[in-house]
């Protein structure tokens, strides 16, 4: 019963909260409308939702969010300094190939989003045969350093969360 009407409980909860935030209200009428949206929208969308093993381990997810937030702030400052021309001479950009152990498509998508949302690093492509990703770095000093950052800072946590 529960499975039939609420196939994606987390999506439903998000839609409920989204509707109420969008309307800035806790009016009973809007609560009812939000409930209708939260039930109907996932049912209509379920043919398009790929069935995948979702994320678990909330503590690791929160840790990852914290790490990503710190990295975004830090790389914002770094890229702003590069644009201002503070250290223009040494800056050299380039591509790095990194072999990954992740198999879950959601984990790969999460890694792509994390890497791209930090200014200064950009996920370019992924080769599923060789399990290699191509990364573009604005301030490439040491390729090994970036390999270590991706492997130990993000990939280890993503493995814990998704696999």
């Amino acid at each position: 019963m529960m499975k039939r009407w609420l196939p994606y409980p987390r999506v439903s909860l998000l839609l409920f909260a989204l509707w109420l935030t969008l309307n800035q209200t806790l009016d009973p009428a809007h609560l009812a409308l939000a409930a209708v949206v939260a039930v109907v929208a996932p049912l209509l969308g379920s043919p398009f939702m790929p069935v995948r093993k979702g994320a678990h381990r909330l503590d690791h997810i929160l840790l990852l969010c914290g790490i990503v937030f710190i990295d975004i702030v830090r790389s914002n400052i770094a890229v702003a300094l590069i644009i201002l021309g503070a250290r223009r001479e040494q800056t050299r950009s380039g591509f790095v190939r990194i072999k990954l152990n992740l198999h879950n498509p959601s984990a790969l998508a999460a890694l792509a989003c994390i890497i791209t949302s930090c200014p200064g690093t950009l996920w370019v492509s992924f080769d599923p045969q060789r399990r290699e990703m191509l990364l573009h770095v604005l301030d490439l000093i040491d390729e090994e350093e970036w390999r270590d950052i991706v492997k130990y800072r993000y990939e280890r946590l993503l493995v814990e969360i998704f696999e």
Binding site: N76, C113, S125, H136
Partner: protein
């Protein structure tokens, strides 16, 4: 000209957030015009869409919360939406640019760069 008036400390908080956020967005756009190669240019607008956007949204939240005497959070939706969509568009654009690559764009592509497979 301005709507509701707010206390001076809140004005300073909003002012600092606004100037730093729009300054970062401006810097990001400067980078877009100044960098030499396409993949270098792709890094710059992330500044506008991450910290620049976050600071302006925070300024808006502080202003309307103090002016209206109640918590106004619906600007957070913009922040969440932009944070979630920017990496998606940028990875798609980077992939498209990589598939259409030319050495004359000014980027130094890796020597064994073969055409990436298209199904991810």
């Amino acid at each position: 000209m301005s709507g509701a008036s707010i206390p001076l400390w809140a004005e300073w908080v909003v002012a600092v957030l606004l100037v730093s956020g729009t300054g970062l967005a401006f810097l990001g756009t400067i980078g877009l015009t100044r960098f030499r190669s396409f993949f270098d240019r792709m890094h710059a607008p992330t500044l506008c869409a991450s910290m620049g956007m976050a600071a302006v949204v925070l300024a808006s939240i502080v202003y309307f919360t103090v002016a209206g005497q109640r918590l106004v959070v619906h600007e957070l939706l913009i922040a969440i939406f932009v944070t979630m969509t920017t990496p998606v568009t940028f990875t798609m654009l980077a992939r498209a640019a990589y598939l259409r690559r030319l050495e004359s764009d000014g980027d130094h592509f890796p020597p064994d760069a073969r055409t990436p497979s298209r199904d991810t």
